[in-house]
């Protein structure tokens, strides 16, 4: 697979990591639809030790098998820290289980919701209680049909750009301002105080993709801080780009944009605009973990 996963942790440091475990090159011939994808992100607090697959409380995965290419991001809800729960564990487990499930024989390339719900079920079956909650967004490219199937719970999301226009984007799912839909497993005794949405409540879309389409999958750290127009402007430049390195540069710049805007206290961020709509008078970005998965469709 041509897709290479490149991860940037800080400005100066680029970790390049080709996943040889992904696939034998023989498994899909290049004529089949697939993603060229790259990853970049920042944890909110840069001092934490870097672990592959996560940026702070955010987690991501890309995986593929003979039937499909799959991308997912999840954002652990930080409110659990005060219960002594590591908010990143839930999201990280969710994504890694998705990754394993894609390799499983029962994987259905048309049902991203099934993927999320089986992953959630595995959480319940784990001996160690993994508590917390998380938003999640999963995209599956069915190689055979060329259809992209998506499922989204909460305020992470995706955006598909073709010919300089956003042709598809996910809707934010919120209970109320700054409280997204979330999969959750609360500590016992707290069940009724916690918002918990079933995987089936996910927003789902299925649509055909075309060669060269740019797909941005990101957590709210990006969408809350970078205005849509700016994102579109940046993404336009990589339409049809098959070179992972060039794609990586664009992804880096999106992540950097989000990072610097999130700490800009005078910037009228999408988050601040939303807040004002809800009668909360605020300005500036929203510092958060940032995860960007950028992919182009290769038919």
């Amino acid at each position: 697979m041509q897709s290479s996963i490149i991860t940037v942790r800080a400005l100066s440091r680029i970790i390049k990591n080709k996943f040889s475990t992904f696939l034998d090159p023989a498994i899909h011939n290049s004529s089949q639809p697939h993603f060229v994808s790259v990853v970049v992100g920042f944890p909110k607090c840069l001092s934490n030790k870097y672990k592959i697959g996560k940026f702070g409380d955010d987690a991501w995965f890309t995986s593929s098998n003979s039937q499909a290419d799959v991308i997912g991001v999840a954002d652990g809800v930080g409110g659990w820290t005060r219960y002594g729960i590591d908010a990143g564990e839930f999201s990280s487990f969710l994504m890694r289980t998705c990754e394993r499930l894609v390799q499983n024989n029962n994987f259905n390339p048309n049902q991203p919701v099934n993927l999320l719900s089986s992953s959630y079920k595995e959480l319940l079956d784990h001996k160690k209680p993994i508590l917390g909650s998380s938003t999640a967004c999963v995209l599956i490219l069915n190689r055979e049909t060329g259809l992209l199937h998506t499922a989204n719970i909460g305020d992470s999301g995706f955006m598909v750009v073709r010919h300089g226009e956003i042709v598809h984007r996910s809707e934010e799912q919120q209970h109320y301002f700054n409280t997204p839909f979330q999969l959750s497993l609360p500590p016992p005794g707290n069940a009724n105080r916690v918002l918990s949405d079933s995987p089936e409540s996910a927003d789902t879309y299925s649509f055909p993709v075309k060669d060269g389409d740019v797909i941005l999958v990101a957590t709210d750290g990006v969408f809350d801080n970078v205005p849509k127009d700016l994102l579109l402007e940046t993404l336009k430049g990589v339409e049809g780009e098959k070179d992972a390195v060039k794609l990586q540069m664009t992804a880096n710049s999106i992540a950097l944009m989000a990072r610097s805007l999130s700490f800009d206290s005078n910037f009228m961020s999408p988050f601040a605009i939303n807040a004002r709509k809800n009668n909360i008078h605020t300005i500036g970005g929203k510092p958060d973990d940032i995860t960007v998965v950028l992919a182009t469709v290769n038919l």
């Binding site: 098998n65 487990f93 079956d125 001996k127 016992p188 005794g189």
Partner: protein
């Protein structure tokens, strides 16, 4: 075919015909910790590349068996003919390519040492070949790539059956994956025979493989006797008159039939069949139905075929206990054979075990219902792995059942309820892994219909809620309760839980693994009320405290084992002290943190 399932060809020694491959498919298994359709701890994890090796720990990504340690479930009443044979768990896996096996590597990531037997199904001969057989061993507790010395064979295979004996282990095993290395067969690879195809076994082949080697200590004594003391014995019993002496040497066949019969009654099935071939007289005695009242074919599962089965049918006129577990792979025994057997001998059966019997189908169950009216124990574990269509309702024709094991059988709620209604004397009921059951409804019927129930196993049924617990509290004779992985949605279970343990003071084994809603007050109730506890499993309880554990240790004097794995707020040092102080075995397992 996915990446981690496929071969990774190696060309060592410039020999391109050697290939190594990881398991591709799981065909069958006797038990696993995880539930069906889930990945965590389940048997499918044995397929594919190792994902955890060489780390050591209790990983969800590995295959783990449900049981460990010596089997203490003495509720199982079919005794093996010879006691030495312990229960073996197994897993049957299939690889992508046919090879002539040369090397098998088993990646063990938790509590290694349980692999006792490896068999391969030889496609050309259509039979199972033992590649490795050894006693379980105690080995160092770290992950290992176990590479046993295999018996040389020259036939090709791609299906392996690995058997485990966990009797020496003190906690669950973890198997990451299995690597099969072998020579690529130069001959044409035959198309795999479809599993349902009927394959006739040869009686000659069966007999060729039968060695006269009884596995009983008592039988050693018999051999000794035959060698040394037989002549003296015959003299003593009165064959001393000269006429006999002149005629010929004394032989064992000169003994009275009753004595020969008595000797034969110590023999195992293999030996009995060998005896039948000695002489007419021996044949007559060796086929006496009284020698075949308890037949355990589980240990001979890979030799049992239609012919053996029909010859048994003649001999088993008085059979009471029959164990056909694991028999019938690749059509070696068919449902028709079994039904014919039941029609002839079903009435006398009291105990019937059909765990993982491959030939089982709805028609067999129907015949069990019709013919086996005297059944006391019925065991149908893993039926759900074998067949899609299940019709359990005819089983409600049985009326005398005391023990019924329906673990992973896929029984539906309605059939189970009717079964309970017609068998009000049920004492032991095993329903583990049946996620399709509406457990609360079952509990309601237990409280109404089964006042004598002692054992209730609901491991990983998932459906139990406080409502079920509330009605279950009406039972009064429970001794073994397994609620593992139930009550997951419930956060407060205090009152019904207290009622249950109040009414059932005899509980000695209590499994509450991953009943996440258990809080400190529930544990204090256990300490106050469950004074007969011997085994307590509290794996993965979030709300546990040291004080509550201490209370339990103090007041439950008979407690031998307490499982406190994944209880994070407990301190290992204190627990270690308590283990010594109270003489209790405290189980702890951890996963190296990766998140």
């Amino acid at each position: 075919m996915f990446s981690n399932n496929t071969k990774c060809s190696t060309s060592e020694d410039d020999d391109a015909s050697i290939i190594s491959q990881y398991a591709q498919d799981l065909l069958d298994y006797s038990s696993c910790y995880g539930s069906h359709g889930s990945l965590s701890y389940s048997a499918v994890n044995i397929c594919g590349r190792p994902c955890k090796y060489p780390s050591y720990g209790d990983f969800a990504e590995c295959f783990s068996l449900r049981h460990y340690g010596p089997r203490t479930d003495n509720e199982y009443s079919v005794k093996d003919i010879h006691d030495k044979i312990t229960f073996h768990d197994f897993v049957v896996i299939q690889f992508e390519n046919f090879v002539v096996p040369r090397e098998i590597t088993i990646f063990e990531t938790y509590n290694p040492g349980a692999v006792v037997k490896i068999l391969a199904y030889m496609w050309n001969d259509k039979r199972w070949e033992v590649l490795y057989e050894e006693q379980p061993m105690l080995v160092e507790k770290k992950s290992r790539a176990f590479c046993p010395k295999l018996k040389k064979v020259n036939a090709m295979t791609r299906v392996l059956r690995i058997e485990f004996d966990c009797s020496l282990l003190d906690y669950y095993i973890g198997i990451d994956s299995v690597l099969l290395t072998g020579l690529k067969p130069s001959t044409l690879i035959p198309q795999p025979v479809t599993e349902s195809k009927f394959i006739m076994g040869l009686i000659q082949q069966k007999l060729d493989n039968v060695n006269f080697r009884p596995q009983l200590t008592a039988s050693d004594a018999i051999e000794e006797f035959l060698k040394n003391d037989l002549n003296k014995f015959i003299e003593n019993v009165g064959f001393t008159d000269s006429a006999v002496q002149i005629r010929r040497e004394k032989a064992i066949s000169d003994m009275p039939d009753e004595v020969i019969f008595k000797i034969m009654s110590f023999l195992d099935l293999k030996s009995l069949y060998n005896c039948s071939r000695v002489s007419k007289k021996f044949h007559q005695i060796a086929k006496d139905p009284l020698l075949y009242t308890e037949v355990n074919l589980r240990v001979y599962w890979y030799r049992v075929n239609t012919i053996l089965f029909s010859s048994l049918q003649e001999r088993c006129k008085l059979i009471r206990k029959l164990d056909l577990s694991s028999c019938g792979y690749y059509g070696s025994v068919t449902a028709e054979d079994f039904i014919k057997f039941l029609r002839a001998n079903g009435r006398s059966l009291t105990h019937l075990r059909l765990n993982s019997s491959q030939f089982l189908n709805s028609f067999c169950l129907q015949q069990i219902g019709f013919k086996c009216e005297n059944l006391i124990e019925l065991s149908l574990q893993n039926y759900a792995n074998i067949s899609e269509e299940r019709e359990f309702r005819p089983l409600s024709l049985l009326t005398r059942l005391e023990t019924v094991d329906l673990s992973r059988s896929g029984i539906d709620t309605f059939a189970l309820v009717t079964l309970m209604k017609s068998n009000k004397n049920l004492l032991h009921m095993y329903l583990a892994f049946n996620q399709q059951l509406s457990v609360d409804q079952i509990c309601l019927h237990i409280s109404i219909d089964l006042p004598r129930l002692r054992t209730l196993d609901l491991w990983k049924c998932h459906g139990l809620t406080t409502a079920g617990l509330r009605v279950l509290a009406r039972c009064e004779n429970l001794e073994v309760c397994d609620f593992g992985w139930n009550l997951r949605e419930e956060s407060i279970i205090t009152d019904p839980f207290k009622n249950l343990i109040q009414n059932n003071p005899r509980i000695r084994k209590f499994v509450l693994a991953a009943v996440r809603g258990i809080a400190e007050r529930d544990l204090l109730n256990i300490a106050a009320l469950c004074t007969n506890l011997e085994y307590l499993d509290l794996m993965g309880i979030v709300g546990i405290t040291s004080e509550a554990v201490h209370k339990i240790l103090q007041s439950c004097n008979r407690l031998k084992v307490i499982d406190l794995s994944f209880c994070e707020n407990l301190d290992d040092v204190t627990l270690f002290q308590w283990a010594n102080e109270f003489n209790v075995c405290i189980k702890r397992s951890e996963v190296p943190s990766e998140f």
